[in-house]
Symmetry: C2
Subunit: 427 residues, 2 copies
């Protein structure tokens, strides 16, 4: 039953049905949350071994003899850098470990551009107005960082192959005030797509007119597969080596969604030239990251195989949740022609596009019935979704029965908002 | 035997004796280190309970029910903020917890001034040349932070009562480009002195012409007493409340020298207005600090009494080391009139002033015989000690027998350098 094809009476009936269902949910006094990409408690239990690790060890030295309790080792323990090297496709010697937050490392890298500049250029704060490309829908916290520094954000449409590279190439060639682009190249937040080989190659061979243009390559979901046929992301590092463009990329990853969101380990990869500049900053900023937490992770994960095994455990918990989301969307909205959604092979989100002009209303309806969603528009720079249609579904945190309830309610709200919208347009 | 009173022949003899002793040390192929204020392994063992804490706990929620493994709680766990509140004399609600480094929090606060400004003023990066007062000798890493941002540093002499407040008051009243001052108010690094009540009051009642002047109050050694008659630092927070000047102070502390230097917890205290501004920055920069590590500390320390008890253990290890330093200085240099030194009641350093123009030579001689000291001049902005006389002794890290050897060697080098210097001046 395509709602868009219904006459006024049929739409009115549809609206009343949806309203009735909605009122039932309102009476249930629900408190449901699909707001953020938070792992659930069961996932966190998978990594409890991280906390056992140091207990079983009477010494606190890593293989190089550093007492990990004390000061020092500014770039982190070599064994942990080796694990990130395999995850990120960046040589271990070009990786710097941070504390628990890759977002903090990204913020600091933007701050570094703002206060000190990259590759010998003037700091961005001395270059007048500067701009950043923001593939959208994208990650709201990325956009918040560039907004914090007053960097003007230009939205770039997301295609099934990644950001619209025709537009990216055109803009960066024309405008030297464009200083970088935010990317989540694998299982992108929120669309779930993985950049195509062609897109990766076009990033590696990009010819920006700004010599201090930086690609913020946030590989947050690099090992977060949910199927037997995971997406394969082409290795940007090697491509950049080939094109001689490595100085224009900063690579990020973390174990936030591998071990613990609040107590994982974050990493930054860069060209030797950028590592040297960032070393100056980081060794001024701190005497070193938390090495005991790195040691815990090393003793628990051992190597990339330990990571892969652990991620199988995450998949076993998450795949059924994603299935609930997809099944419910298909069952409730599949033939109605009022929404489209993604079917990602990994990552943390399902991307839902409702009818233009309806996303805010859907999120509002959900909130009034006790379901918190990511704010409508949050996936766009300045919170401005031009179509008011994008909703990010984060199914990982709620237990399955709550998730089912939340999805049922969400679908009712999508139908209700669509009916309101279609009726308003009919004579 | 006052060396300064010796005639040329007697000095020559003194030089030869010192050279002979020095050559003996050179042949011993020593590797000794008194470079940094690092706790020793025995001190770190005192806090091993921090690592046991979470093992004994099957749940990971603090008293408020937050799952400390997950994202969230941007300003840190309330129980840990309460411990810092007692340490720092700042209300718990005005404390933000960071990760393992208070230096990082200071860097970020200077960065915040540079990129965004304080109390509604223009960012420092848009105000032309800005300046910072640097009581010297002081902490080299403080100076490195202001230098990194191109902030011009003005050295302020350290008196027995703290920084020369006549000069501080005069300069800040005259010059609106002076944006702040670095302070280690208790057991100051490296002089070991504690600011007098009068000095604290004069800081609280300071009238800078810059409305965005910030006192960086780094209370790194607030509970690091080494005697039964510890120094008492007047409570700056209360004084500032009385004078209405709280917006001009940022308070810092950490457990780096309480639990683990590499894996402790750091804290920042500020006025409600500044907390609000910093909240905007910090919640853009990260989703939250490592709460599991805070939970470990809470379970191990319980409260301020746990901190005090632990510090008794540190004192038991450190007091004998400080005694070795002082005894050796007194025995070898006591009557020679070529050096003065501090006798601190706490903290991490003994401050040694050798004859003018001799500090670099002493450090060089020590290095050539296998003893690493903090670089001469490091305790002054830009590494420039105007008298070339200040040497920072960091006795905490080496075991006692190594420390004794290091101090014997250091005293030989001080005598040797003084003899060289005095001979060069004689006809």
């Amino acid at each position: 039953m395509r709602m868009t094809a219904l006459d006024r009476d049929a739409l009115q009936k549809e609206l009343e049905e949806a309203q009735k269902a909605y009122r039932t949910y309102q009476k249930m006094d629900l408190t449901l949350n699909m707001e953020r990409g938070k792992p659930c408690a069961k996932q966190l239990d998978l990594a409890l071994g991280v906390l056992e690790a140091l207990h079983a060890r009477s010494e606190f030295a890593n293989s190089r003899g550093d007492d990990c309790r004390n000061y020092g080792v500014w770039n982190g323990l070599p064994e942990m850098r080796a694990i990130f090297s395999d995850m990120m496709g960046v040589p271990a010697e070009d990786i710097i470990l941070g504390n628990n937050s890759s977002l903090q490392m990204m913020f600091d890298c933007i701050s570094q551009g703002f206060t000190h500049g990259y590759v010998g250029c003037e700091p961005w704060c001395r270059q007048g107005e500067v701009r950043f490309l923001c593939p959208a829908p994208g990650y709201d916290r990325h956009f918040a960082v560039t907004e914090y520094f007053g960097i003007q954000m230009i939205p770039i449409p997301m295609l099934p192959s990644g950001p619209d590279m025709d537009l990216v190439e055109h803009l960066v060639a024309e405008d030297p005030s464009i200083k970088g682009i935010w990317c989540v190249p694998k299982y992108s937040n929120p669309t779930g797509i993985t950049y195509s080989d062609d897109t990766v190659r076009r990033f590696a061979s990009l010819k920006p007119s700004a010599p201090d243009f930086m690609i913020m390559w946030d590989n947050a979901y690099c090992v977060h597969d949910l199927t037997d046929t995971p997406d394969q992301l082409m290795d940007l590092y090697s491509e950049c080596v080939r094109y001689g463009t490595l100085d224009h990329v900063l690579f990020f990853a973390s174990t936030s969604k591998i071990s613990f969101p609040g107590a994982g380990v974050a990493a930054l990869g860069a060209s030797p030239k950028n590592i040297l500049a960032l070393k100056k900053r980081i060794t001024t900023q701190t005497i070193g990251p938390d090495k005991l937490n790195q040691l815990r992770h090393i003793l628990f994960l051992h190597d990339i195989n330990g990571v892969k095994e652990l991620m199988q455990g995450h998949r076993a918990i998450l795949a059924p949740k994603f299935q609930i989301v997809l099944d419910t969307l298909e069952r409730e909205l599949g033939d109605r022609n009022i929404a489209r959604w993604s079917n990602p092979r990994g990552g943390y989100f399902v991307n839902l596009d409702v009818m233009s002009g309806c996303a805010k209303r859907v999120v509002e309806l959900c909130a009034q019935a006790g379901l918190s969603l990511t704010a409508a528009g949050a996936t766009y720079p300045y919170g401005a979704d031009p179509n008011d249609s994008n909703i990010r579904i984060a199914p990982t945190f709620p237990p399955e029965e709550e998730l089912q309830q939340a999805m049922d309610l969400l679908c009712v709200c999508v139908r209700l908002a669509a009916a309101e919208k279609l009726l308003a347009k009919r004579p």
